[in-house]
Amino acid sequence: MVESRLSWKRLRDNKVFWPVAVLALLLLFNAIFTPGFFRLEIKEGHLFGTLVDILNRGSIPALLAIGMTLVIATGGIDLSVGAVIAISACTATVLINPNLATGLPTAAEMVQDITYTPMWLLILVALVISALCGAWNGLLVSRGNIQPMVATLVLMVAGRGIAQLIVNGQIITVYYTPYYYIGNGFLLGVPFTLFIVLAVFLLAWLITRKTAIGLFLESVGINSRASFYSGIGERNIKLLAYTFCGFCAGIAGLIYSSNVRSADANNAGLMTELDAILAVVLGGTLMTGGRFSLLASIVGAWVIQTTTTTMYALGVPAMAAQALKGLVVLIVVLLYSQQARDGIGRLIEGAGALLAKKGVQS
């Protein structure tokens, strides 16, 4: 009896357990109510199916969640990731064909399948600009001592304006076919975006778990001043977290613009910052900072994507699906609150004790 209670406690304290449990519940719901949800087909050597679709579309929230986890671990928040997605998407697409933004291109110039900037260079430029956006946030927070929510709010409000400036107010369409591969391609039969998520996850994992930086992030999140007095460069740690978050948003922007084959400064990555924050919260990282789990955040992102896809499968209109998403999030957040957790713990232990008593009696 004691042992089973111990293992339950260990399970309950494991960060990955809760998001996985929620995900399992969602999948169970789909297994019953959504016909064909688990069907997988192989077409032209690629895997097709709703699950693959969720993994592919979930890559953007997953990438954002990785960056956001580090920021939230320092006790901060980054509201500007949606705007950074727009900036990154606009930068990359405008470099492919600057004529679309500046002059009045002829029809032949518009649709030509060439790029004016080498692919590696435009990816590099977009990522560097995104990382600089993140660094700007980081500087405001760490050097300017401005509340993170407010500091990143500035870029959230102004960032879309900057993206509009980059593309000169145009919606840029991409006609360069190799660029499509980033968001639509398949490698070894599974979406290429999965490999991108895996690579970024490994990078973040190596930085935070194989060096002391992860420990520093948590210590800054738990008590910034105490960390400073223990000799941790808390300012640089914060700067690093925000810069990395901007970098992740930049990659997400590339995937987004490649997936829809265009960049719209007004709508690229709209509301994604909310998805990213929710993914991290679902992953059990406290908004006040401290202990974090990258894997749990990624599972959280998949939970959100599964919820969205389930809504679509049930025929809920895209915009209305938000309401149910909000409801799911509210319930999960309430379940995570200490009050509710204690209540559930007592309930289960009470039931366990009751069962044990019955067992003794019989």
Binding site: Q147, V154, G161, M319, Q322, K325, G326
Partner: protein
């Protein structure tokens, strides 16, 4: 002497805002013909009446050190719900208006209770509230609904002439907004509720230890903000004479920016409801300047408001830093005194 200095420092951000508004207006006056009409100023009020109402509610929330991201969505929900009930269900405005206000108030109360009793961050709860409210709009109607109700039309078209100005007028919405502002100022500065709000923003723990009704006040502040955003939604549906789920997107950011530009400290505890009026006016003025310029595209409004918010946050952080430094100096002086006193 010392007392006067203290008051001055608190007023600095507000004074800067008022000065900026006057300078901006004079610039517009000298540059654009259209700005010279007195009606241009009144139009800023007419166009931003709903922003002013919701910003007054937001001021209270921010004064307690919280935040409410759901206001834009609640405004949109109010416009859609009233348009649907008036047009599709044929309800009377006498029934719809109180129902809408009740709905917003209830939403605010629920969010406030969750924030306080479950100790969830305001940011997350109101974010979920925003999702729920925005999404609910589309359960009611996927497309925009026009309001043809005679009462609403009359409210929208009625012009109140301004004395001493020729051909200048304001709408009923502006009267409602100014009434909300006056009530807000009264609540914040002349009632025990207002003093508790400031106390919570200054230090919640201390407020609790002082025996102030922290729980009731915190829930009430979000309830009040819910009421304000519903009222703003009613005003918006009168102003726009239609309802759509995409109305008032990003209004929560405009409201927060207005409160900050109006000189309220985002950490809570410091600020004036009156300042929020000028925050809203500056946002409206920037909009007008960009519009009258004609060459600048609308996105410059966003960049300008973002930059202005940053400047004001800068002013605030200087204010906070100097205050902390002063406290530190005073502490050091006190401990030195004690040290000096000890041997003797």
């Amino acid at each position: 002497m010392k007392q006067r200095l203290k008051i001055d420092r608190k007023l600095i951000p507000l004074l800067v805002t008022i000065l900026l508004f006057i300078v901006g207006y004079i610039y517009g006056y000298s540059q654009y013909n259209g700005m010279r009409q007195p009606q241009a100023v009144f139009n800023i009020f007419i166009d931003n009446a709903f922003l002013l109402i919701t910003s007054v509610g937001m001021t209270f929330v921010i004064l307690t050190g919280g935040i409410d991201l759901s206001v834009g969505a609640v405004i949109a929900l109010t416009t859609v719900a009233s348009a649907h009930l008036l047009e599709k269900e044929g309800w009377s405005p006498a029934l719809v208006l109180p129902l809408m206000l009740l709905m917003g108030t209830a939403l605010g109360a629920v969010m406030g209770s969750i924030i306080h009793f479950f100790k969830v961050q305001p940011f997350i709860v109101t974010l979920a509230g925003m999702f729920i409210a925005r999404g609910s709009c589309f359960f009611i109607s996927l497309t925009g609904v026009t309001i043809g109700d005679p009462f609403y039309r009359q409210m929208a078209l009625y012009q109140i002439p301004i004395p001493f100005f020729e051909k200048a007028f304001i709408s009923i919405n502006v009267v409602i907004a100014l009434a909300v502002l006056v009530i807000g100022i009264y609540l914040a500065h002349f009632t025990p509720f207002g003093r508790t709000v400031y106390a919570i923003g200054g230090n919640e723990q201390s407020a609790l230890l002082m025996g102030l009704p922290v729980a009731r006040t915190k829930v009430l502040v979000y309830t009040l903000n819910g009421f304000c955003s519903a009222l703003a939604g009613v005003v918006a549906s009168i102003y726009l004479l239609s309802g759509h789920g995409l109305y008032a997107s990003l209004v929560e950011l405009d409201a927060i920016a207005s409160v900050v530009i109006g000189g309220t400290l985002l950490e809570g505890g410091v600020g004036y409801v009156f300042g929020t009026l000028f925050g809203v006016l500056i946002a409206g003025l920037i909009q007008n300047l960009v519009m009258f310029n004609g060459k600048l595209l609308s996105w410059w409004t966003r960049i300008a408001i973002g930059a202005l918010t940053l400047v004001f946050i800068g002013i605030q952080s200087v204010f906070v830093v100097t205050k902390r430094r002063r406290i530190a100096v005073e502490k050091r002086a006190r401990s030195n005194n004690r040290k000096n006193a000890a041997p003797g």
